[in-house]
């Protein structure tokens, strides 16, 4: 076993001997995913549907009836004006409002009936699901109607819904959250623990003992980062399995591409942890330093707020944020099945960040300690 392998062995021994560490690394993500798993349950029941119908007629009545008859939806309070619709939604007295246009029948006969629908986008997954179900019911009913119309070929899909969300118009769904949370878990494990484990050796005086040994600073850096990279990939595997099995997320893209992108991202987080350790002499300082950058990274990553909705100045700032690119990449891989060609830009940016941060860390580490 060479010196580097001994370092890796020692790190693993220390990690697995600390019960708190084992719990933090392995139990924390499982608990987080489990809690989220419950929050993300998508069974819709008793969704209240109100109708805004300026000129009530048999057609609109039949369509709304069809919606209400399903198990998912129940009738909500009647609505007379668009502003009343908004009020009821804000007060939580109804869940969605269907707007029937005055000339619905004429439009439907032309095959382009458009209905407005008001929803509350805060519970994005639920809103998205409800929208899809309303659309399905209306399509079916519209097709039935059309087949009954004389001189008209059966034309399915004669009704289109035009959703108008009160909140969260981008509909950032939990589908988008789960892949992003995976990244967050990996970030914490790799950046925090790297920073802490180096600084802990400073505190204990063992770092000095390593520095008088013939270990090179490159061996030291690799010995510290390889174990945490391995644990991060373990975390990725657990979170990916949970995303697929618990959240029923379709992993559309390639696992290989996902791993490759995470590897590039780990260069950033492990390098960041090392950088934090070179400016910190206590574990508290290291944690605080990592946390400080973590908060900005999360806020400017599109994790909660889509980058496209940010003011121009902040949007520029996100280019300096590697988390923005990895989140773009994992969401693309998970939800759209994006390949390397689709993700060339974020992958390139991530690679640049990764190589840059890790080289800087290596250089700083050499300068500070060797």
């Amino acid at each position: 076993m060479g010196p580097l392998a001994r370092l890796v062995q020692k790190e693993f021994r220390q990690i697995f001997r600390d019960p708190l560490m084992v719990r933090l690394i392995f139990l924390m993500p499982i608990i987080q995913l489990f809690v989220l798993g419950h929050a993300v349950s998508l069974d819709l029941k008793g969704v209240r549907v109100s109708v805004l119908d300026p000129v009530p007629g048999p057609l609109s009545r039949r369509l709304s009836q069809a919606v209400w008859e399903t198990e998912t939806f129940t009738p909500g309070p009647p609505v007379a004006t668009p502003s009343q619709a908004e009020d009821l939604l804000v007060q939580g007295r109804t869940d969605l409002v269907l707007h029937f246009p005055v000339d619905l029948e004429r439009r439907m006969r032309q095959g382009n009936g458009v209905l407005g629908i008001n929803l509350d986008g805060r519970n994005s997954a639920q809103a998205g699901q409800a929208l899809a179900q309303v659309q399905a019911v209306l399509n079916l009913e519209a097709a039935r109607l059309a087949s009954g119309w004389k001189g008209q070929a059966p034309r399915p899909g004669g009704v289109t819904l035009q959703p108008l969300y009160l909140y969260n118009p981008e509909l950032v769904s939990r589908y988008q959250m789960v892949p992003a949370i995976t990244i967050l878990l990996i970030t914490i494990i790799s950046a925090m623990l790297t920073g802490m484990s180096v600084v802990r050796e400073k505190e204990l005086g063992t770092l000095e003992q390593l520095l008088v040994s013939p270990l090179t600073s490159r061996q030291l850096v690799l010995g510290k980062t390889i174990p945490l990279a391995i644990l991060s990939f373990g975390e990725l595997a657990v979170a990916t399995l949970a995303a697929i099995l618990v959240f029923r997320l379709p992993l559309e893209g390639s696992v290989l591409l996902l791993s490759g992108a995470v590897f590039l991202y780990l260069l950033v987080t492990l390098g960041g942890g090392l950088l934090a350790s070179t400016v910190s002499s206590t574990q508290q300082q290291a944690i605080f330093t990592v946390w400080f950058f973590l908060v900005f990274s999360i806020l400017l990553s599109g994790f909660f707020f889509p980058v496209a909705n940010m003011p121009q100045a902040l949007r520029w700032l996100t280019w300096m944020n590697p988390m923005r690119f990895i989140i773009e990449i994992v969401r693309g891989i998970y939800l759209k099945g994006s390949g390397p060609a689709d993700l060339a830009l974020p992958l390139g940016m991530l690679a640049a960040h990764g190589v840059g941060v890790f080289s800087l860390a290596l250089w700083r580490f050499r300068k500070r300690v060797a």
Binding site: M1, Q9, R13, Q14, R17, E208, L210, S213, P214
Partner: protein, 246 residues
Amino acid sequence: MRPTTESGLAVRAHHLSRRFGDFTAVDSLDLDVEAGEIFGFLGANGAGKTTAIRMLCGLLAPSAGEAWVDGLPISTHGEAVKRRIGYMSQRFGLYDDLRVGENLEFYGGIYGLDSAAIKARRGELLERLDLSQALDRPTGSLPLGYKQRLALGVALLHRPPILFLDEPTGGVDPVARRAFWDLIYEVAAEGTTVFVTTHYMDEAEYCGRVSIMVAGRIQALGTPASLKAEHGARDMQDLFLKVVGT
């Protein structure tokens, strides 16, 4: 003129200096330590002992001057120097969460010893340090005296010709200190050079030669007996106070 390294010198410093900003911690240090010597490197807190040792061990770059360890210049042969020295500080440098055997295994490994060599050397050292029963004990659970001996074992694993001990006996009871010095004598008798700092003047008495450092410079250098005679001191404690106080 560039001084030549002479065989037989374990440590040689020539105008070795280290400045931190405006503060000169080590001021043009000149020092020769013979191979096999037990050399006591004394001085008050802040006199520059630790800075000097850190430079000799390659932990800190000198601002000026040069030093040779086992004949190798530290400025150009840092890596080779590190293979030739053992280092033990007051903080011991042990992993409390690893077992005694695992600490030795790890440090042996980073000095490039293979598994068989580690096993053999580990058994030998544990026997010698009277720690054989402690092999599987968590290091953190050992009494301080045991830890101290283990730290010495770690420093000796790769059979270094020169051993640097930076206040190795701090906080340990007199019996353990005495036992520790018996070990140091044994090691020196085998030809290892021991370069040791201490604040215990009874320990200074055990050294072949001592130097006393004041404000970054060596103020006194010689055998304990000759220095005491020179300064008219009753004992090492008296000598130290006389040299440092002036």
